[in-house]
Symmetry: C2
Subunit: 742 residues, 2 copies
């Protein structure tokens, strides 16, 4: 095992440690390393303020949990190449293709069914509640009516909160930030587990039925992603529901594709908008997209549409209780003939500007409220439930009480603004953002329409649609997908030009004020989201400026004790493997080995008695399944592997299990350029090699965290004081435009 120092930001090299032949370090006790690195980091701290300020913990739902990066790199080692089914001819490829489309079909069918069941349950529960309350009101028993209304809401909310808090905290909230982070390459345990799926569906039904101002679109996206992930990993190992055939999909790339299709299916199920679902997945949640994926996502959402239509057809025969009397969101503008002229444009433009301002204000306020809720939630289960209970009672009071304040005119539709949608989110229950925004926006639009009065010839229902569009544009900042979803909801294409205009205006206005709602949530939850574009200051830094040491490496044939020690004392997930003389003519970077693969080697005890190249043939002891990527959030732990003192003195030949062609960049490359490679190819580890061949063959490893602005600015606080700070962290309105639109 060897240690090489990283290059300093000034470009000077710590020659002492870099020139130290790495093989000679091997015999040093490991404690010495850490002492050395401590001295080293002390030296470094003269120039840098902190070693790593980015956390490996993110808030999933309402609880903090450890996170991990995903790896989309092709791992090329001897073992994998031998086992790889892609090189095994037609039968495997055929099976893979058939399975892939079957999975998409199943995914569409299940997501459609889940969407339908959610809707059915919500409408029946909310419907019964409504009927009972209304009957009591008609009998003039207002206090009783309020009591029943508030009590049922309270019970439903508490039920949702309790199952979420105690059984699956990862199911709390909208779920879209988690899905978005996953598709960006950040994995958190339990976000796609069967338990989360179950709680998500049941909790969403309870939360929406309880008259909270929350939606089901987000939860359905999360549900779709859960179904996709569970299908892809071939069921759950925990519940002994696995399928051998699905081993083709046990890697992050195929899983990413499935989860993308799953999120498209979720939106399609929530709005009955198959095209809108595909575009939503493309525009709002996915970080990587290919043409082939468009086609597959389209297939999935088409299945969703067919399943939904079939199930609704069955329901229309009257076997589904109160279903179908409310239905999905319906803007009643289908029958109207839309005609608009130049004089109609000013109100529409005003509506768009207002929607943009309101949308960004909504985002701003939501962030503040969620921060406050997080403080409360951190105090424990009791406080979580108390928060949920308080919100439920407040909401009941608002909904029941506010109509009394207004006269019986069409005006009261305006009140759901006065009872802000914002206040009802952030509690530990599955709840979506999309539909509240649509409803609030529709109310806002209708209000504007009424204020316009006779000055505009446009229909009020049209104003409602445009209001929704403006608030969606201002809050979620989606364009094409919102356009298509609204068209699919309203079933009227003549609206298109006006919807586009409103969206363009509101998005532009809101982008000048703050970030979109999902980016705010992803950031608030602490996911290390990798942006496509580089920050301007990243062009001024080289990769060696951000690499933090000490770098831990293994020899091609490494002592078991060293491996165990390194795995126990560090949290790194990848280690360079370096061959030293006499095993090679000079110090050569053999490749990169993953922690997960090392753990498998230790578990299987493929040990050699001595440091020799010609050991036993280890490849026959493994099948491809051994190295298949485990399900989301699951991995082995070094603490679970028990080895004897004798084992510790033995050796492992790492060569057959090392990825021999990791992607590398030269240490003088700018951080911005390295980010392009890291982001576009979807890497987990990126090796940094020295410019000169006379030094150690690798000088550092870049991971996702090294590209995070917090980390980079933590290492180089001087950048914060420079002009780049003003560009990125300033409060002026144009900054966001720069970063978003460049």
């Amino acid at each position: 095992m060897a240690m090489a120092a990283e290059k300093e930001s000034t470009g000077e090299v710590d020659l002492e440690s870099a020139l130290l032949p790495s093989s000679s370090v091997e015999s040093l006790p490991l404690l010495a390393h850490s002492t050395r690195s401590r001295q080293h980091s002390h030296l470094r701290s003269l120039r840098r303020s902190a070693s790593n300020t980015t956390s490996q913990i993110a808030i999933v739902g309402s609880d903090p949990c450890p996170i991990e990066s995903l790896d989309y790199e092709l791992i090329e080692n001897e073992e994998f190449l031998q086992q790889d089914w892609r090189s095994r001819g037609r039968a495997h490829i055929l099976r893979y293709v058939v399975l892939k489309w079957t999975l998409c079909f199943l995914l569409g069918a299940l997501a459609g069914a889940a969407g339908f069941l959610t809707n059915l349950a919500i409408e029946n529960i909310a419907g019964v509640k409504f009927v009972v309350t209304s009957n009591m009101m008609l009998a003039d028993r207002h206090l009783w009516a309020f009591g029943v209304f508030a009590a049922s809401n309270f019970v439903l909310t508490m039920f949702a909160a309790v199952i979420t808090a105690f059984f699956a905290p990862a199911a709390a909230g909208s779920g879209i930030p988690e899905v978005k982070a996953y598709l960006n390459g950040v994995d958190a345990p339990e976000i796609f587990s069967p338990r989360t799926l179950a709680v998500k569906v049941v909790g969403c039904i309870a939360a929406v039925s309880s008259s909270l101002h929350v939606g089901k679109a987000g939860p359905l996206v999360h549900t779709g992603a859960c179904i996709a992930s569970i299908l892809g990993q071939g069921g759950s190992r925990k519940y002994r529901l696995t399928c051998k055939w699905l081993r083709y999909f046990k890697n992050d790339r195929d899983r990413r594709d499935l989860v993308t299709c799953g999120s498209a299916a979720g939106v399609a199920a929530a709005f009955r908008a198959p095209v809108g679902g595909v575009l939503f997945a493309l525009e709002a949640v996915s970080s990587w997209w290919r043409s082939a994926l468009l086609w597959r996502a389209f297939f999935t959402t088409a299945v969703v549409a067919v399943v939904l239509r079939a199930l609704i057809d069955i329901c229309h025969r009257g076997k589904c209780g109160l279903f179908g009397k409310g239905g999905l969101i319906m803007f009643d503008v289908t029958s109207d003939t839309i005609a608009y002229h130049l004089p109609d444009l000013p109100p529409v433009i005003i509506l768009g500007i207002g929607g943009g301002i309101l949308g960004s204000f909504y985002n701003f306020f939501l962030e503040k409220v969620l921060r406050a809720y997080n403080l409360i939630n951190e105090k424990g289960y009791g406080y979580k439930l108390l928060l949920a209970a308080t919100i439920s009672i407040c909401t009941s009071c608002c909904i029941f009480g506010l109509p009394w304040l207004a006269s019986c005119s069409p005006c009261p539709t305006g009140i759901s603004e006065a009872c802000p949608s914002i206040g009802s989110y952030g509690i530990a229950a599955p709840s979506g953002l999309f539909i509240p925004v649509i409803l609030t926006g529709a109310t806002y639009g209708r209000l504007v329409g009424m204020l316009m009065g006779s000055r505009s010839t446009l229909d009020h229902s049209l104003f409602a649609v445009l209001g929704s569009a403006s608030l969606l544009g201002g809050s979620m900042r989606m364009t094409v997908s919102v356009c298509v979803i609204l068209l699919e909801l309203t079933n009227n294409l003549l609206l298109l030009p006006l919807v586009m205009l409103v969206l363009l205006i509101s998005k532009t206005v809101a982008d000048a004020l703050n970030a979109n709602i999902y980016d705010i949530l992803v950031k608030l939850k602490g996911f290390p989201y990798l942006e496509t574009h580089a920050e301007p200051y990243m062009r001024q830094l080289t990769v060696s400026d951000v690499v933090t040491g000490p770098l831990l490496m293994f020899n091609g044939i490494e002592k078991v004790g060293n491996i165990v020690h390194v795995l126990k004392t560090t949290g790194h997930h990848g280690f360079p493997v370096v061959d030293e003389p006499p095993f090679s003519d000079s110090s050569v970077l053999y490749g990169l080995i993953l922690r997960a693969h090392l753990l498998i080697l230790l578990k299987k005890r493929v040990f050699l008695p001595s440091r020799s190249l010609f050991g036993i043939d280890v490849s026959k002891q493994f099948s491809a399944d051994d190295f298949a990527k485990r399900g989301s959030g699951k991995h082995d732990d070094i603490e679970d592997i028990k080895l004897t003192a004798e084992d510790m003195e033995m050796f492992i030949d790492l060569h057959p299990f090392t990825n021999t062609s990791p992607y590398t960049v030269v240490e003088t490359m700018s951080l911005a350029k390295a980010l392009i490679l890291f982001r576009e190819v979807g890497l987990r580890h990126l090796l940094v090699v020295p410019k000169s061949s006379s030094r150690a063959p690798v000088v550092g490893i870049l991971t996702r965290h090294d590209f995070m602005p917090e980390h980079v600015l933590g290492l180089h606080p001087s950048l914060l004081k420079s002009r780049w700070k003003r560009l990125r962290f300033g409060k002026t309105s144009l900054n966001k435009v720069f970063c978003d639109l460049c």
Copy 2:
């Protein structure tokens, strides 16, 4: 200058040339190199059959012309970093952002206007022709009518053919293959020049007016791309229409974004389908896509929609001659209430299957016809014009004659199938494919509907829409974009489920038979199109297996004579720069220098008298504009640079102009994995470095051509005989499914 041998496919290294210190080769006459390389390649030919079978020539329009790769890499050299406006603060960034959106606005406005003018001119010319002919027919002067009809068609066709053949051969054909190839990173001269733009618009008007069965969608996409490219390069230097401010856009990345928006604007203008335009650009033409681009393309197409609406509104006041009496394609199903039930599905499924088969047959037949036309076109201008004339007369005869054969029933709409749309394409005139496919598909659908008779309750107009969808799905293989374009054309969202079903079926059926029409055209034209997915055999090859030598390198300070000789004798566009002792402690890869930059250095004569590091400060002699990428297809030529014998003995310090951080891969990486990097990051050159540091610091350069199946299989003909051949080159139907859908 030095030469290093590439590694052989067996993994052995030609030690003699690899270990030869590169500095010592410098004094060898260059002739010796080629002798050596000839010997070397003779040795190599024992294992490999050919050195490079991919052509650097492609057929643009109907003429062959040289092509070049585009480069999306960030070039990091001292000169560029100093000049780069991104590091120059807010004013530049603000100007960039404002300009970018202004360009999109102008692009939308101009593309909208071009679409409108094209439509206006076509309808007036065709309308006058129709009125005159009809009047003669009504007066029973049938022969005269035919004479006028055929003569006007002949004149129009010949006019289109003459201007295309003599003034802008690049304007021939649909133009979408050229745009698709450009967006994949292949540039051909003149494809986006002002002359091509002018001929494209005028020629398209003449060709469509001449009753040829051709469309305007493809030409409008090309027109949009032309406008985008010309706007982005700040006008044309040739016509002295340039703008200094636009230097921010003088690089391939920004130009790619603009051209993508331009192609979206073209489709939006052709069909008045703004959302469909964006999706068409995403699905059918672009190779790289980002979320930010979606938003920008959407803005552009929104402008197109507004401009079109405004212009049409003006026309409706009756100042545009015959315009508006025909209008854009209109499926008259808006007013119908669409109702369909389970029994309606079988005919729809049959329609889809039939459409898939017909679509793939259309593609197959089109390819054959175009191959035949190419043979004719190659013989010279006379043959080109003769071909156009023949087709014009045949088409006139068909259109005029065939209705006489049928009785006066609705049936004759079926005849445009008998007069195949295919026969009228491929002549040297701007002509699109999209609308012929829509029309033929509509005819096919109506025919199926009539054959169904009373067995189906669906409307015949609905069958026409579904027929169009099935043929589009079968021929172009687009899904989401065709869906949305058809919805925007028919203005009826209730069709969506049926359209989706038909598209899914026809695309699946057709994919099993052959490739999509644009891929066939791109291949036929010889563009080296870089696919997203790797072929299965690419996993079996390492990058060193496909690198063809000899590799030409430069020293950090290189003799002018050597540079000139290399530039004159090779066509390479990038050369590694290697520092040798005593300028560095060992042989070090300093970076990569581009041919274009070398030419600028030679032109400016920034020469040093001797080989010393501390020469004159060269950086002040250059501005960022000098290194800006020239317009599409334009570049300096080494033959234009006159240097004296004295100059030839001097030196150039290449260091400040060398890209110091080119992307590199290790020689043992599989070709499939290198392709991922090459394709995702959008590279032009990818350096291959050796595994061991004891050898020359670079062993080869990969370019686009090295990833082309023809090149790889030319080098390794044994792969053709292996099972991979069957997978890729076999005739069985599943192969295409594997490659397309994996």
